[in-house]
C-alpha cells in the first residue's frame, strides 16, 4: 500500500502516582493518502493517547515506544524544529472540545492568522484573503465580521468549523480528528461530518477519525481499527468489519447496540466491567468478558494475523465468529 503515515508497535506508558498505566500497547496502523481511517473503541481504550502520540502532543511523563513514520522519517525522534514543520505543513489536528483548543482572548481571525503566519509565506494582505477563504471553505458565512468575533460568541458547531479552518490553514495532508462531533447535536454532527468528507476529497487529505460511535464509522470511514484496553483488536474495510467482525470484542460491541431487533427486546450487554490497564493481562485483555474465550486466551496474547485481504485480527476465535447468530 502507498502509505502516508505508518505507525509501528506504538506503546505509551504513563508513570502516574498510583503506578504505571499501559495506555497504548503495540499498535500498528497505516493510512494511505486520501483515506479516512476510523479508530473506534470505548472510553479509556487508548484512542486519544494514540492520536496524541502520533502528533507528539503528549507530556513528558509519558514513555513512548515504537515508530511513527511520516515520509520516511520517525516523528518520535524528530528534533523539535523539524517536528514543528511537519506539524504545520503535514499534519493538522482537531479535538472534541474546540473551546479548550481555541484561545478565548484572541479573535478567530487572529488565531487563523497565527496559523497562516507560522505555516505559509503569505504577507498580511494574502493572509487576510486566505482567512476569509478558509471560513468560506468550512461553511461560516459572513466571514468579515465573523473573523472579528471571539470563540465565546460562536456556537459549538461554529467553533468546530473554526477549529477546522485553523487546522486547514497550513494545507495538511493528514487531519487527526479526535471525536470532533461527540459534543454536538446529531444535526450539527451531520453537517460537520459532511464538511470533513468534502474537505478530504476536495483537498486530497487523509483523516484519522477517532470516535466511539460505530454509526459514525459506518457512514464516514473507508477502513476502521477497533481498540480495546490499549490494544488493536482488528482492522479492515469498514463494511466488512462491521458486518462480519473477526474479533470477539467487535462482535460483542455490535451486538450490544440497540439495533433493528424487536422493539423493547432486551439488549445484549457485554458482561463484566471495562478492563484495568494498570495490570495488563498476559493474554487477551477481553478474556474476562468474552463469551468465546478458550483457556489459552487468559495466558497467551493473540497476535495480529491477516484474515483476509486488507483485514487483520488479533483473536483466537477469528474463524468461529459470525457462524451462529
Amino acid at each position: 500500500m502507498n502509505e502516508l503515515l505508518r505507525v509501528e508497535q506504538l506503546g505509551v506508558v504513563f508513570h502516574a502516582a498510583r503506578g504505571r498505566v499501559y495506555a497504548v500497547d503495540g499498535v500498528d496502523l497505516a493510512i494511505a493518502p486520501g483515506e479516512v481511517l476510523g479508530l473506534v473503541g470505548e472510553s479509556g481504550s487508548g484512542k486519544s493517547v494514540t492520536l496524541r502520540a502520533i502528533a507528539r502532543l503528549l507530556h513528558e511523563e509519558a514513555h513512548i515506544t515504537g515508530r511513527v513514520l511520516w515520509q520516511g522519517r520517525d516523528l518520535l525522534t524528530l528534533p523539535a524544529r523539524a517536528l514543528e514543520q511537519v506539524r504545520g505543513a503535514g499534519i493538522g489536528t482537531i479535538f472534541q472540545e474546540p473551546m479548550a483548543a481555541l484561545n478565548p482572548v484572541l479573535s478567530i481571525g487572529l488565531q487563523i492568522d497565527e496559523s497562516l503566519r507560522a505555516h505559509t509565506g503569505l504577507d498580511a494582505a494574502g493572509r487576510r484573503a486566505r482567512a476569509r477563504e478558509l471560513l468560506d471553505l468550512v461553511g461560516i458565512a459572513d466571514a468579515a465580521s465573523r473573523l472579528r468575533q471571539y470563540p465565546h460568541e460562536f456556537s459549538g458547531g461554529m467553533r468546530q468549523r473554526a477549529m477546522i479552518a485553523i487546522a486547514l490553514a497550513a494545507n495538511p495532508k493528514l487531519l487527526l480528528a479526535d471525536e470532533p462531533t461527540t459534543a454536538l447535536d446529531v444535526t450539527i454532527q451531520d453537517q460537520i461530518l459532511r464538511l470533513l468528507l468534502r474537505l478530504v476529497s476536495e483537498l486530497s487529505m487523509a483523516m484519522l477519525l477517532v470516535t466511539h460511535d460505530l454509526g459514525v464509522v459506518a457512514s464516514t470511514c473507508d477502513r476502521v481499527a477497533v481498540m480495546y484496553a490499549g490494544r488493536l483488536c482488528e482492522t479492515g474495510p469498514t463494511a466488512q468489519v462491521l458486518h462480519a467482525p473477526r474479533h470477539a470484542y467487535t462482535d460483542a460491541l455490535l451486538r450490544a447496540l440497540p439495533g433493528e431487533g424487536a422493539a423493547r427486546a432486551r439488549l445484549q450487554p457485554i458482561p463484566g466491567m471495562p478492563p484495568r490497564i494498570d495490570h495488563p493481562s498476559p493474554g487477551c485483555p477481553f478474556a474476562p468478558r468474552c463469551t468465546h474465550a478458550e483457556p489459552r486466551c487468559d495466558r497467551e496474547r493473540p497476535a495480529m494475523q491477516d484474515v483476509a485481504p486488507g483485514r487483520a485480527s488479533a483473536c483466537f476465535a477469528q474463524d468461529r465468529l459470525g457462524v451462529a447468530a
Partner: protein, 340 residues
C-alpha cells in the same frame, strides 16, 4: 393499564437572562429565554414516552416541571387522582439524571442515602428500613455489600444503578430519566437499558426517557414527542414516527442519525443551519429559517399541534388519544417528501 396518568396543558416556562451593562444603560429589556412554550402532552399510565430534540430545546426544563423542580409560568400539570391513590404529588414522579454522581452525597454510604429517602417519605417503619434498602439494591442488581460503600467506589454504570435505586426508594409511579445512559459506554449502556425494561415490567412504572440517541428511542419507547425551541412539534407512536415522520424537522433529525446499516451519508445535509437563539425565537413556525419546504405563511402564522389529516385510520381523529399530532402547515405535503 390505559388512561392518562398526567396531563400537561399549555405549560410555558421562561427564564430571565442576564443583560450587559450597556444594554441596561440603554434601557433594553431583560432578555427572556423561552425554554418552554405552550406545551401540551398527555402521559399514559405504564407507557414509555421518549422526548427528543436538539440541545437547548427544553427537554430538561420540561422534565423539571414534571417532577416539580420548576414551577411553570403558565399552564397546568395535573395528575390523575385515581392513579395517585393518595400519594403526594412530589413523590409520584422521580428523576434519574445523566450524572448520578452529581446528585449523590459523596459523604453518605449508598445504604444511608437510600435509607434517608425511605425515611423522609415515611414509607417504612424504622425497623424495616434496612430490609427495604436491601430490596432496592437487589432490584437494581447491586450486591448487598454496596450499602456500606461510598459513591466514588463505583463505576459509571453502577452509579447509574444507585441513582435509579434512589429514585425507586420514593416508590414513584413515574420515572423521568434525563439522558440516563448518555455518559456510558455502549456495553454498559445496554445493561442500564435492560434494567429500565425490567423495572417497568416488575413495578408497572411509567417512564419518560429523554435522550439525544434516536436509535435508543426507537428501541425503548412506545411514543415519542419531538421538541423544537421549547415546543412539541410532533408526537406519535414510536413505530409510526420512525416509519412516517410528518414534521420536516423530525424528518431531518432522523436522516441525520448515522446508522451501522448505512454505508454512505445520504446526499445533502439533513438539516441546514443551527438552532436559533431561544432569546428570540423566529415568528410564525420557529423552524421556518431551516425548513426546506417553508412557504410565506410559515413566517407569520404559528402552526398548531393537530392530528395529521393524512395519517391512517384513528390516528387522524382529533379526539383520538393515539393521534399522530404534528405542528406544520404543510404536514400532508411534508409526508410526500419524507425520506424513504
Amino acid at each position: 393499564m390505559s388512561g392518562d396518568i398526567l396531563s400537561v396543558a399549555g405549560v410555558s416556562k421562561h427564564f430571565v437572562g442576564r443583560r450587559g451593562v450597556l444594554d441596561a444603560l440603554r434601557g433594553r429589556p431583560m432578555p427572556v429565554v423561552h425554554a418552554l412554550e405552550d406545551v401540551s402532552l398527555a402521559i399514559r399510565r405504564g407507557e414509555t414516552l421518549g422526548i427528543v430534540g436538539e440541545s437547548g430545546c427544553g427537554k430538561s426544563t420540561l422534565a423539571r416541571c414534571l417532577v416539580g423542580l420548576h414551577q411553570p409560568d403558565a399552564g397546568s400539570i395535573a395528575w390523575d387522582p385515581a392513579a395517585l391513590g393518595g400519594r403526594p404529588r412530589f413523590r409520584a414522579s422521580q428523576m434519574v439524571f445523566q450524572d448520578p454522581f452529581g446528585s449523590l452525597n459523596p459523604r453518605l454510604t449508598v445504604g444511608s442515602a437510600l435509607a434517608e429517602v425511605v425515611g423522609v417519605h415515611r414509607l417504612r417503619p424504622k425497623s424495616e428500613i434496612g430490609a427495604r434498602v436491601r430490596e432496592l439494591l437487589e432490584q437494581v442488581h447491586l450486591p448487598a455489600d454496596a450499602a456500606q460503600r461510598y459513591p466514588h467506589e463505583f463505576s459509571g454504570g453502577q452509579r447509574q444503578r444507585i441513582g435509579i435505586a434512589r429514585a425507586l426508594a420514593a416508590e414513584p409511579l413515574m420515572l423521568i430519566a434525563d439522558e440516563p445512559v448518555s455518559a456510558l459506554d455502549v456495553s454498559v449502556q445496554a445493561q442500564i437499558v435492560n434494567l429500565f425494561l425490567e423495572l417497568q415490567e416488575r413495578l408497572a412504572l411509567t417512564l419518560v426517557f429523554i435522550t439525544h440517541d434516536l436509535r435508543l428511542v426507537r428501541h425503548l419507547t412506545e411514543r415519542v414527542a419531538v421538541m423544537y425551541l421549547g415546543r412539541v412539534v410532533e408526537v406519535a407512536e414510536t413505530q409510526a414516527l420512525f416509519a412516517d415522520p410528518r414534521h420536516p424537522y423530525t424528518q431531518g433529525l432522523l436522516k441525520a442519525v448515522p446508522t451501522i446499516a448505512q454505508a454512505t451519508r445520504p446526499a445533502g445535509p439533513a438539516i441546514t443551519g443551527e438552532l436559533p437563539s431561544p432569546l428570540a425565537p423566529p415568528p410564525g413556525c420557529a423552524f421556518h429559517p431551516r425548513c426546506p419546504i417553508a412557504v410565506a405563511r410559515c413566517r407569520t402564522e404559528r402552526p398548531a399541534l393537530l392530528p395529521d389529516p393524512a395519517a391512517p385510520g384513528l390516528a387522524r381523529e382529533r379526539s383520538a388519544p393515539d393521534a399522530h399530532r404534528v405542528a406544520c402547515h404543510l404536514a400532508p405535503q411534508a409526508a410526500a417528501t419524507a425520506p424513504a
